[in-house]
Symmetry: C2
Subunit: 190 residues, 2 copies
């Protein structure tokens, strides 16, 4: 299975392609960043992100595109570009008939490090180790995109059809997913 | 000048095309709604909105696409679909090289009724009167889209190169625009 991870952003959108290998191993295929100039209009910046995501899907033919689920309880203005970039990335996948999955930052951290509150540096270190890279992937957006792809490959239902979590990381993952579902429900009811 | 107004939404996205005529008159060309099924995945729903907006641009060849600027200070979860739909609409315009303009709900209400706090029904009534329609356009999303198009046609800088507001409606419009800029600045600084 091949997954394209997308860490959505308007200024920098992280992209990372990961293949799953037998024995719960993962292999880095490519990673990078789609950027758009801060002095351009938002519509053209979103188009630049859309075109880059589309090119990555066409080039690497992933089975799924895993995108960070964007939350913002405080400053909606600064998050709107991120949210719009995630929507634009979703459309590029849907246009090509590629499955889209959303994962929260907590789910990603839990999947990769076993700790849903892990600091960014720890996530980057684990991504480097899991993918057997010489250095932690840079910039951080690309590392996050690779972590998203790994998170999707390791999501509990692919590994454990019985719903039994096999590892501490998967247990933390499932707990984070449950917490996110509870949070969404309470928001939807608000 | 021809403007396509877009009232962004995931379940219903309002669309309205308006031509400007000499003497500060406006003419309705068409209006409608792009809908997406609530039980589909978000990525496919956004694709449906994107394709509909693209088709309207191709069919009516507007000079500009005016989209409601989405704000949400409280419940980000429910607004994320609206925000993503607006981003997706922007990309469809940018892909075709059509100018994109964002207007806040307050700006639109002020432009159409002279009152930035006007209730929705008053906006719909004024849209009906300004466009010389037999009935207020339905659903409300389509009326809002037509109001957005009118707001863009009547934006102060097209009518008054000197920056002098010609009418009470334009004064209210400019005040609303200034207030929105102040709000955005204070958010960006937060």
């Amino acid at each position: 299975m091949r997954v394209l991870g997308v860490d959505p952003g308007l200024t920098r959108c992280g992209l990372g392609v990961v293949d799953s290998l037998p024995g719960r191993r993962v292999k880095m295929v490519d990673f990078g960043v789609a950027a758009s100039p801060a002095d351009d209009t938002v519509d053209r910046r979103l188009l630049a992100i859309a075109e880059a995501v589309g090119q990555w899907i066409d080039r690497f033919s992933p089975d799924a595109v895993a995108i960070e689920r964007v939350f913002a309880q405080r400053n909606v203005y600064t998050v709107s570009g991120t949210m719009q970039a995630s929507g634009v990335a979703m459309v590029e996948a849907a246009r090509r008939g590629v499955e889209v999955a959303l994962h929260t930052p907590t789910e990603v951290k839990a999947a990769v490090t076993g700790n849903g509150d892990a600091p960014k540096e720890q996530v980057a270190r684990m991504v480097r180790r899991l993918l057997d890279l010489d250095d932690p992937p840079r910039p951080a957006d690309a590392a996050d995109a690779l972590a998203l792809a790994i998170c999707h490959i390791w999501r509990p239902n692919t590994l454990s059809p019985t719903g039994q979590a096999a590892t501490a990381a998967q247990k933390a993952w499932m707990e984070a997913a449950r917490a996110a579902r509870r949070r969404r429900k309470s928001w939807a009811a608000a």
